[in-house]
């Protein structure tokens, strides 16, 4: 009996189309990606149904978590000017190099006295050294957070001619008094309107 010959077919598949699609998607994701900087303070924000998105300029974000307060001023030019203003307020001159380093720091939480040391460190050292103990905001005499926000507002108004928005990004489990301390401090500057940063809620409300 003659054997039936099964024609051998190549298993190679044409990958050109797949490759095209893959690179198209890749290009899209690369272009839309905004590098997410690691937050020095771990915060899980509570969720809400609010639709309004956080603007990405002329804003300062006060992060509150584990009793520590961190501040993030958005915009490199604003950050630089704020540092200079803070420097002249506390009589600590900053070099151009330090101002440059400060302008790329995202969120920081060091007492003003340690700021020079903090700026001289690289990212890893900053994380390890535990220098980021939060911005002091307790006493009325040495309320650095108050000054930081005030100077940042001045800087924003000077550079962009708009009012700086202030947002509070609190950890969901943070006890209310910690939040109240920051809110009181804002109200002392006559900021009666601010926003709370929340994450989008997955289904309905509960």
């Amino acid at each position: 009996m003659p054997r039936v010959k099964v024609p051998r077919k190549s298993t190679a598949v044409d990958m050109t189309a797949m490759c095209d699609v893959a690179f198209l998607l890749l290009t899209f994701f690369i272009l839309t990606a905004t590098a997410r900087q690691p937050d020095p303070l771990e915060i899980t924000t509570p969720s809400s149904t609010v639709q309004f998105k956080v603007p990405d300029k002329d804003i300062a974000i006060v992060s509150i978590g584990k009793g520590k307060v961190f501040l993030e001023i958005v915009g490199q030019d604003v950050k630089k000017l704020t540092l200079q203003k803070m420097g002249s307020l506390y009589n600590v001159p900053f070099t151009e190099e330090e101002a440059k380093r400060f302008s790329v720091v995202s969120s920081f939480g060091v007492p003003f006295g340690n700021l020079k040391k903090f700026l001289a460190m690289n990212g890893q050292e900053r994380e390890k050294s535990g220098i980021q103990a939060g911005i002091p905001n307790d006493s009325t005499v040495n309320n650095e957070l108050f000054e930081w926000i005030k100077q940042a507002r001045f800087a924003t108004a000077e550079l962009h001619g708009v009012d700086m928005r202030i947002s509070i990004k609190g950890n969901a489990n943070e006890e209310y008094p910690a939040i109240r301390k920051v809110v009181d401090l804002l109200q002392k500057q006559k900021i009666n309107k601010f926003s709370l940063i929340t994450s989008a809620e997955a289904g309905g409300s509960n």
Binding site: M15, Y176, T198
Partner: protein, 181 residues
Amino acid sequence: MAELDTSGGGKNKGGKVRSKKQSTKVDLTAMVDLAFLLITFFMLTTSLSKPSAMDIAKPDKDPKDENKLELRQSQTMTILLGKNDRIAWYMGEAGKSAPTIEGFNDIQSSLLKNKQEVKAKTGKDIIVIIKPTDASTYKNFVDIMDELSITKTNINAPAIDDDPNHLLDSEKEFMKSKGIL
């Protein structure tokens, strides 16, 4: 498909020398592998959902400001945020009516009910006063503000009174007796 014709054109003079036909197909498997790896990486690292911002307005705290508004007790609902995600609320004046203790799941219906009742009784909109106590968490505060905007009870901006000195004795006593302060 894009393929080049590599059968050497004019070389076969005399028909003897023939260059071998070579395929120009390149194995794309590795390239596709790499592309998908990168796609996965960028997909996972991009933050697609931007956080949202909830606007809060608080009454001015200037002690010199004498312009204080008295609230009608028939119109007001006071919400106290307590420990363990519990809420106590009452209508009207403190101490006159027993507060109701609820969780965050039921507050929405209570808000809607009270809003309707006030509207039917007085013809005016409800005024909500929120008092977050020291025992409450930040999440409670955000949740209650969210509930207010969902139920649209905040036609008049809700009054947030977080001064611990403003917590009335009767309110404190009640919350303590129920174990939520």
